[in-house]
């Protein structure tokens, strides 16, 4: 039968579909609606060491085939997460990827240590790419040294799979993937949201209280797929791809471009029951193409040099 499982370092996922961080709360919100153990994994909402208020509303704006968000990482802090949410997630059999954020390299390491101690965490995703906060986040993700330092610091304190999440707001995303790989990352995930804004022309004010926000959704998919493709050529460690996935074909597009697993964010807002539909679509694809499992799809993009005989133009 069709095998949907994939492996990221030491972590085996039943299927490649991970709920994207910030788009699935702490997971527990969906426990009544979705069987959490049917997901490949759940990347929970980004956590700092301490509780955070986040930005005032308005926090989201819809844009053509996308949305901007400037939530500002409202969150309960890593300790309350471990105490209040993690046990419930594990009780549901969820694979838990904890997305963490710090204002300093030390804060990342400290959070990672707490998660390492918590025992039941499956992987750590380093959010070095959040466009919505003034300190930390993208500050590290936009500097090769910053990326390297955060990954290396976390690597020192935990054996859990470590996966920095790269920002697309850079000239050469592959160089950041290389920096992460060199610092000991087990995988990279990409992309986080694109820094963007929207203005209410009647009031001439920004639509988001934070002025700037992050663009997600199908609008960005073609750029995200390109970036996965570029990183695939630059690094050996697995890639977790995301950005605008709405259908099983979109999942496959990322996997063919080189992703081992994917995350689904905005689509979950549009259709919280999307998971079964995506899994059905993946199974149908394997059947249609007579493939035993999904791993054969990873990085299977065929690049064929087509020779242009045309010499002049009209």
């Amino acid at each position: 039968m069709s095998d949907l499982s994939v492996t990221i370092g030491s972590l085996r996922l039943g299927n490649p579909l991970i709920a994207a961080s910030g788009c699935f709360g702490y997971g527990v919100e969906y426990a009544d609606l979705v069987a959490l153990d049917t997901l490949g994994g759940i990347a929970v909402k980004g956590l700092f060491l301490e509780e955070r208020e986040g930005h005032p509303p308005q926090r989201i704006v819809e844009t053509p085939s996308g949305m901007l968000n400037a939530i500002g990482l409202q969150g309960i802090g890593v300790r309350r997460f471990v105490a209040e949410k993690l046990p419930e997630l594990k009780q549901h059999g969820a694979i838990v990827v904890v997305n963490i954020c710090g204002s300093t390299v030390g804060e990342y390491a400290e959070i990672a240590r707490i998660l390492d101690d918590a025992d039941s965490v499956d992987a750590i995703e380093l959010n070095i790419s959040c466009p919505n906060i003034s300190k930390g986040g993208m500050m590290f993700g936009c500097s090769l040294d910053g990326t390297h330092d955060v990954v290396a610091a976390v690597r020192r304190v935990t054996d859990l799979p470590v996966m920095p999440k790269l920002t697309p707001n850079v000239t050469d995303v592959a160089s950041f993937a290389v920096a992460a790989e060199e610092a000991g990352a087990d995988a990279v995930s990409l992309v986080n949201t694109f820094l963007a804004t929207a203005i209410d022309v009647e009031t001439r004010r920004p639509r988001l209280s934070n002025v700037l926000g992050g663009l997600s959704g199908p609008a960005i998919r073609p750029i995200a797929v390109r970036m996965v493709h570029e990183c695939r050529q630059a690094i050996k460690i697995p890639i977790v791809g995301m950005g605008g996935i709405m259908t099983a074909e979109d999942v496959l597009e990322f996997m063919i471009a080189g992703a081992t697993a994917v995350q689904v964010g905005t689509a979950n807002f549009v259709d919280p029951l999307i998971w079964d539909k995506l899994l059905d679509g993946l199974r149908a694809y394997l059947d249609r193409h007579d493939l035993p499992g999904l791993t054969s799809v990873i990085g299977s993009l065929e690049l064929e040099e087509r020779t242009a005989a045309c010499k002049s133009s009209s």
């Binding site: 910030g22 909402k45 509303p57 926090r59 989201i60 819809e62 979950n268 807002f269 549009v270 029951l273």
Partner: protein, 296 residues
């Protein structure tokens, strides 16, 4: 036939292969539009064949709706459940939405044709708290803020409570379903901005007079839905008379399920600092006295 996508694939299935679900769990239905009644140039009522949603809905709850396929518009939009629809035998057949055309999705819903389909997820959020047995219930509605009050009125009348509706609109053409409320036994206090029907002015005018005319020993519970400044004014007016108010807030909502943290409302507990709580989970109905209106 609309198909209800049920939660949790791990739930047991019944003999028909459909999953069995317990009561009060949101379901997502690809609902057929039964009818579209345009009430004015801006308002209409869309009836949806979504019995599985309707059966569970309690007054004040909402649904997340998407009339269009494709990614533009992308997200669903929140709507109050306006009516629970029943057939001659009293069987629930669906629900209706009171829609006010203000943007992309509401324009689409204004024009939707019978037979088209609308994705409808619900019921979601917290319902209004029922009043105590000896309380009067006063509903204060502004414009499309009428939406949650028809089901509330029905449930209040079922418990045979004294109910009043203070209802304001732009003009006489903007006040709807008056006979329906009246036939339920609801006392109406109407206002219009232009004076073409009821009192001339804001809905808070008659409300203030009613509050002043009511003995403090009479227990009154207030419910309010409408523009934010109106709900704030109602809350403050009621508080000045020692009454508290349930408000149904209209925050922008990305998911309706607690996933995105877009819909937060600043809430204060006595003495505590303001906290942002998710309106889709802990609302949309809040105690108006707990809302930090300055931050909203």
């Amino acid at each position: 036939m609309p198909t209800g996508h049920r939660r949790k694939t791990t739930r047991p299935r019944d003999a028909t292969g459909l999953q069995v679900y317990s009561a009060r769990m949101p379901v997502d239905v690809d609902a057929v539009v039964i009818s579209n009644t345009q009430l004015s140039d801006f308002y209409n009522v869309v009836a949806l064949a979504a019995p599985d949603v309707a059966r569970q809905a309690r007054p004040g709850q909402f649904v997340m709706v998407k009339p269009d396929q494709g990614y533009d518009p992308l997200l669903r939009r929140p709507f109050s459940v306006f009516e629970i629809l029943r057939d001659q035998d009293g069987e629930v057949t669906g629900l209706s939405l009171l829609n006010k055309r203000i943007g992309v999705t509401t324009r689409r819903l204004y024009d939707v044709a019978p037979g088209e389909r609308v994705q409808c997820l619900g019921p979601l959020g917290q319902a209004f708290d029922a009043p105590a047995a000896d309380q009067q219930a006063w509903m204060v509605a502004g414009g499309v803020g009428l939406a949650p009050f028809l089901t509330l009125a029905e449930s209040l009348v079922e418990h045979s409570l004294t109910t009043r509706l203070f209802y304001g609109g732009r003009s006489a053409d903007d006040l709807f379903y008056l006979e329906t409320f009246e036939s339920l036994g609801v006392t109406l206090e109407l206002t219009t901005d232009d004076g073409t029907r009821g009192h001339h002015g804001l809905v808070t005018g008659p409300l203030q007079r009613a509050l002043e005319a009511t003995s403090p020993t009479t227990s009154v519970r207030l419910y309010s839905c409408g523009p934010t400044p109106m709900m704030r004014a109602v809350t403050e007016l009621a508080a000045a008379h020692g009454r508290s108010t349930d408000v149904s807030l209209e925050q922008v909502m990305g998911c309706g399920l607690g996933g995105c943290y877009s819909c937060v409302v600043p809430v204060t507990e006595s003495g505590q600092p303001t906290r942002f709580v998710r309106s889709c989970l802990q609302g949309p109905v809040f105690d108006g006295g707990r809302v930090d209106w300055n931050q909203l």
